[in-house]
């Protein structure tokens, strides 16, 4: 038989490590969205004294490379300090898996981003953001690049759906170029809220639609 993946990928795909959810996790993140393709959730518990990842779990709604990368990335991150874990790259994950097809990079990079976002989420929630940069339009835009446009499977920014961003005294206003009646409007709104609300100086997020 001939499979399109390395033995290690297949092994992690068949028997993924660290699968599941951590209830009341210290940090968590969801990357991707069910409306447009692969999605991965990452949960971490952190040893507050050592600042190390004491427990990590993931869930995947994705293809083989997504599942295998989730499995390997959780293995690589376990026991590492937050700073070390943040530096884990897609290349390292891919190497540890014996190589991933290039075309599958976008499915597997989600898990790597998920880990970084879960750490960021922990840091934001625990007041550990070192340089507390005030939220700007650019920062909001960067986060919106992680919200998918289900109509195309690409992110909101790339597909020009973000019509306007306003940041004023802790209040963020995002205008999406879609009718409010669009079938995906509620899901998009919810995702935007999830991405922007954890920012340390944001008190209120409002999402508006053009019609």
């Amino acid at each position: 038989m001939k499979f399109p993946y390395s033995e290690t990928v297949l092994e992690h795909f068949r028997h993924p490590h660290n699968v599941g959810k951590i209830e009341n996790a210290d940090g968590k993140a969801i990357e991707g969205s069910p409306a447009c393709g692969d999605m991965v959730s990452v949960y971490i518990n952190v040893d507050p004294a050592k600042k190390t990842i004491s427990d990590i779990k993931f869930e995947s709604y994705g293809c083989a490379s997504n599942i295998a990368t989730g499995s390997i990335i959780t293995e690589l991150a376990k026991g590492k300090t937050l700073e070390e874990a943040k530096k884990i790259t897609w290349k390292q994950a891919s190497d540890a898996l014996g190589g991933l097809p290039k075309i599958k990079a976008h499915c597997s990079v989600l898990a790597v981003e998920g880990l970084r976002s879960a750490i960021e989420n922990y840091e934001e929630r625990h007041g550990l953001v070192k340089e507390k940069k005030p939220t700007t339009v650019e920062i909001v835009q960067k986060r919106l690049k992680k919200v998918m446009n289900p109509l195309s499977g690409l992110d909101l920014v790339r597909t020009n759906l973000v019509k306007d961003i306003e940041v004023k005294e802790g209040a963020v206003r995002v205008v999406v170029d879609l009718p409010a009646a669009n079938q995906f409007a509620p899901a998009i709104k919810e995702e935007i809220m999830e991405k922007i609300e954890p920012l340390w100086d944001v008190k209120k997020v409002s999402v508006e639609f053009t019609e």
Binding site: M1, P34, M39, Y61, G62, C63
Partner: protein, 390 residues
Amino acid sequence: MLKKPIYLDNAAATRLDERVLEAMKPYFFENYAVATSEFAYSQGIEAGEALERAREALAAALGATSEEFIFTSGSTESSNIALKGVALADKKRKHLIVSKIEDFPVLNSARALEKQGFQVSYLAVDSDGFIDLDQLRDAVTDETLLVSIQHANQEIGTIQDIAAVGKICRHKGAIFHTDATHTFARVPLDTRKIAVDLITVSAHTIHGPKGIGGLYIRKGTKIAKWMDGGFQEFNLRAGLEDIPGAVGFARAVELVTPEENERLQAMRDRIIERILAGIASTTLNGHRHKRLPQNANITFHFVEGESITLHLDMHGFAVNTGSACFSRSLESSHVIMGIGGDHERAHGSIRFTFGRYNTMEEVDAVVQTLTEVIPELRSISPLGKEEGKR
């Protein structure tokens, strides 16, 4: 792991029937002449006769006469000739109509013609995959040159009412092409009863050889030659005739029986019923009854199709999915998106297509494997926990 791989992707390719090979063999080893001229040497004349016998048999399968059928290299070429040949032949009408869920040869030929200045209407389909006949009626005008609506869909199997489409086209003087790649010999199509002008067919879906197909062209249809060369195929398609292929194609059609189609339909019905009843959160794609006898297409919610196909592959089953992760283009199935599905529905869609060499035991075996694989994948999915998934 099963000993023999079980191939459930017969819409993509089929195993060649030995009897087809036997019919082809003499034209590889004994008489390998080409049918260039009836005034040539005897091998050439005999080869030409074999080609014409095959043509006659294939035309007859569509209720047509042999001068209405040309051989091509397969469905892709047939549909290209149909759309582009008609477009080249008519200088006045500049409007084409296709459905949004056509297979790529039709869809991309239409897009190519659009770039050449043709106006193309892409008809939407309903949740079962049917075009709206009223919408078609409104779309066809005196400017419409050609309407191309498939006989049945390649992914979800839905069979269109092409008799009604033909009537609408005939009324407005538009040429009607249908892609019958997946219905030929499986679902009746008689050109004496249906007002269709062009039909794409292929041998690869019915246990014939790959690389041979055909195009039915109703007498009087204005169509131009667009691949230049010799005068073969009534001067419509230049190139050396594939005589073994043509003979094999005719034999393949001959070997399909109504009983076989009933047997395939029984497999289709069984897999649909067993999966929908036995595995939670599953949706049938395409119409339940007005569908290809050999096709089932089901979405398994909360899981991704490539993961399912890989698991099934490791258990020895070959199936297909509409998931973006599986395709070369990394785009979700335009068909599932077209029936009002979202990426999520395409993401977990699996197509099972049956053929002559599949058995009911194989159907049961794949369902059994799915009842293990799907819950396993769902157990690692962040979705669907609240729906009481199994």
